[in-house]
Symmetry: D2
Subunit: 343 residues, 4 copies
């Protein structure tokens, strides 16, 4: 039986949205080539060890920090909160949960002010901040608009062994579930959860964790994703990508690619508005083979097995705990081929 | 000097988003042809006198009510609030403002429950409701997806003589300004204001009012708008449309068309996220000829003069008050031709 | 050693383009639903046993004839020639080749005049005609333009055991090769051949034949194909489709779907101009796993095995001859998985 | 009465397509910025005085030559012919017409071999060549694909005072008319004429001439044109552009922009196939206000008055002869406003 995270007596911090991810990469030059030259993210600032990147329509300092380090991993999943006081609220909240926290008035990265980082109950390094340097929103810099332009950070996706436990914890933290995948035995395989008015700010994927499944950026239109996929080819052996797909889950059109360290990046477009209090939650049956690909392409097994390590507050990888419940892969991949015509 | 609307002592209702507009049309059959056959809105329900329409991704009962009547006008700008209690809050708020209000537990239209309608300080018929019948969200009904599919109600646009007065009133009501148009004398010509995390739920356009400038629906991509524009041609004499344009204001790509009664409809796509508390407000100079059309097409004069009447709670048209300040049209239209090359 | 088709002494007919295909379907009502309701082809004329369909921009009577019959098969691959005299040329050409021919002054189908049908040296039922009824070109009927609109017939694709033999025969007939797939032993697996200025009017795929691999219709843009793929889902079990792909071969973006009888239909967009006399021929290596899918999705095995029977001039299926050379499937499918990332 | 160009007794050269234009620019650095940095044409070769540019899918040496010179003008409208012998045919054809001709075995520009240039009966500098250096076709260089990528040279457009005279001359030369604009008095205002299987390789616009109205490049999709239009803004005062439009004539979606010297460039997409011998010619009525803009935007007057000078074979501008017949502008521009709604 699930050992649920207790609900704190103090109020949860008021989270606005997922704001940035800090990832450790082992070859900064190669990563720069991938994120700047191929994906076209915009450099806000950079130095020998670190690159601060943002999407076209962002006005905060960055959506992605690449930091040179010895082991490819994720150092922080950072959320923006509604006011400076909410950073205090976050600190108090996690302290009551008994989690290790670290507060830095000057921020953990350039361009971000007073922040708290925590090792959360699922083992993920979460950050909460309000203060940030405003930078130029490049929305109308059409001269910079590439054929596969990434316009917004859309969401995170986290791998965790016990999805219901993680979901209850995130619901306490104020997230609302837009969609989930279950089976008839009541096993939950994945859940999509949001603060901003889209399908998700983060999602939980059942599997060995804590690990980072992917971080997603949005494009304006579908052709932008097709272009990125076309452009990837020269480094196909490093991407493991095989084409964009439409997902009934989130109703988006999406593409998974891998960076030089194997961190998975999603390119994503056109989910739907979820801002009403009674926004209908959609529950998918794990046996619906088209829940992750409307078109019926078989899902890639590595999507269920490969993910990035996450770091504790000392910068060491968190140990990975094995999922005990049925895995979505075992239940579905290989179980059935894609539909075959009658003839 | 502006005679500002007083700020009530009771809290403003917590508004979620613009939800639907009720408009009176003089020939229901002709309007049905326009909204259903040409624009492709989906009929939730209809009877002899009324048609309830929704966009593809909507799950509440309707986004537009067409009601047969003697005079083309707008009967309600309806907002959804966060909970049933917020309808009480809205009623109390407008009562304190001395506005006429009418509460109907069973709603003013089919599919909507307990609601309050008010004649607001600017003379507009505003409605606030929470309860609504959930209907099928057609998001994954690809068989219904037309080449110019309207996927969401995006915003209203209201014409009012005194924009700063209207803006202050709406800010009290909880709206936040995303963009505005001013001149160096401090005159405000227009303001874009939001509750949901887009550029606007409603906007104020300076002019003789209270009148309804337009109601806007969103498409997924730009080609969807181009298709609607192409399709309009057979009724071009009734539309007054001349092509989609990119607007730096809201950064959207948009098209204005007119329904058979002359109600202006906007088709709109791809504005930006405004959900952060410190989302930067953009102020445009009224003399910037590209603020309303990035490409420099001259603005159509009727955009500044024509608009729809609005009704009081008895169903009679509100008298139109003349704007005394400089008009955006006088300041800009005809003042300068579109840019000419040097040669 | 290949037993080449002799080159006739009389001139080959001057072929303009692939013009229409006549296919036999076993349930006309179900086929109508597929081609008219789902794919949106336009009905020029229909009766109890036959439906004549055309694409949006076509001005000849039809691009596809569906005829009710006992066995699903292809009755004719019809080409338009440059003048009435070229029908005589075609008849003489095939008579010299010793092929069975049948001439009908009034045409084999409605809307087509004087024609000759032949059982060609590869066993395919080819038709040549010039006379046709002109019908309304729907190019500017934007009211008919669907989200997945098919605007032109693009090409045929034929399965034949001996590709070099077929290619030499078609080159004699005036076709020019734009692209082909070979291996280092000199085996040819496929060839793309054109008369009009696109990549192909027909292609030869190595395999058991004579059979029809697919008939292809073009859309304007890529999103049109994505829409068709989305819309297919309800009949996914009958389509065997799994998403559009970009093909380096022809540089097009394409989708394969199956009609209710299993006839394969391709939806295709954006190949390139081939009209110059020295248009460079592209030769792909059969071991290049991305030749048929730029993105590296594995090719569907049935693409190499399933195809439609073709009829002789009496309406009986032509016997299928087994390919003796290496098959593209054996050489490539399963041989290698899609690229895996290094991690 | 029109003084028609005589029909030569020798056969016309067999023209394949419009292939490149050579234009003289007054500031090569500024022009480079426009054509390379903004429009994204690809540099095949360049030196101090000349830049050779091509579109993405081109395999001949260039589609545009920019040459530094004292007066902005067009030095050549170059057509590719079907074989080396056709260059002889062209020379003989124009000699019989009494035109000045110049033959250069080594070509007039880099990358082009044996060519003949002529001062044609309408005063235009036409070139005919077959030999050309093949260069890399960039079709699959997705890394080079910009958001507004120009993929092909599509056509020329020439201004000439007497359209029927020009049309008859070009029909003799083997061009076929796809569309034209006339009035009920039989006056012809414009004609679209093709050799390749698109709507045009060149068009004649009635006006003071000989002058060059524009040279057109094609994009794959409509969003590519929108992007170019968005990107132009910073140099709007130099472009005189006001947005892409759909044209019933040619059924294309198009945009006019001006280079730093005022040479007009068209960006164009999605016309239709014209390769059948009996392709229906479309005749538009000059009083149909939507013939040049389906959406009813008023046409820009400068489209009828401004155009580029053309050079004789000595490099001197050809004198401009005034059109005597009614001008399309006088007949239509200003005559009627864009359609107004009834209200």
């Amino acid at each position: 039986m699930t050992n649920f995270v207790p609900t704190p007596s103090v109020p949860a911090p008021d989270i606005v949205r997922c704001a940035y991810m800090e990832i450790v990469v082992t070859d900064l030059a190669k990563s720069r080539e991938f994120y700047v030259d191929v994906l076209g993210l915009h450099v806000t600032e950079e130095d020998e060890n670190t690159i601060y990147l943002r999407s076209l329509e962002e006005f905060i300092h960055h959506n992605l920090v690449l930091r040179q380090g010895p082991i490819a991993a994720v150092a922080a999943f950072a959320y923006r909160v509604k006011s400076p006081a909410e950073v205090d609220a976050a600190e108090a909240y996690y302290k009551e949960l008994g989690c290790r926290t670290e507060r830095r008035k000057e921020g953990f990265t350039k361009g971000i002010g007073d922040s708290v980082r925590v090792e959360d109950p699922l083992g993920f390094p979460y950050e909460f901040f309000y203060e940030t340097e405003h930078v130029e929103r490049l929305t109308q810099r059409y001269d910079l608009y590439s054929a596969g332009e990434l316009v917004r950070l859309d969401h995170f996706n986290q791998v965790t062994p016990d999805v219901p436990r993680g979901r209850a914890y995130l619901e306490d933290l104020g997230f609302r579930v837009s969609e989930d995948i279950k089976d008839s035995d009541g096993v939950t395989y994945a859940a999509w959860m949001h603060r901003k008015q889209t399908v998700h700010d983060t999602a939980l994927t059942g599997g060995n964790g804590p690990r980072m499944h992917h971080v997603a950026f949005a494009t304006h239109e579908k052709h932008n994703i097709i272009q990125i996929c076309d452009k990837m080819r020269p480094c196909a052996s490093a991407t493991g990508s095989n084409g964009p797909r439409p997902a009934p889950v989130s109703n988006a059109f999406y593409l998974y690619i891998l960076d030089p360290d194997g961190h998975r990046i999603e390119i994503y477009t056109q989910d739907y508005y979820t801002g009403d209090p009674d926004n209908p939650t959609i529950t998918w049956d794990v046996h619906d083979n088209q829940r992750r690909d409307w078109w019926g392409n078989p899902v890639v097994p590595s999507w269920y097995t490969e993910a990035s390590l996450v770091l504790d507050l000392d910068g060491n990888p968190q140990p990975v705990i094995v999922r005990e419940e049925k895995s979505e892969m075992a239940v579905t991949v290989g179980a059935e081929p894609s539909p075959t015509p009658a003839r």
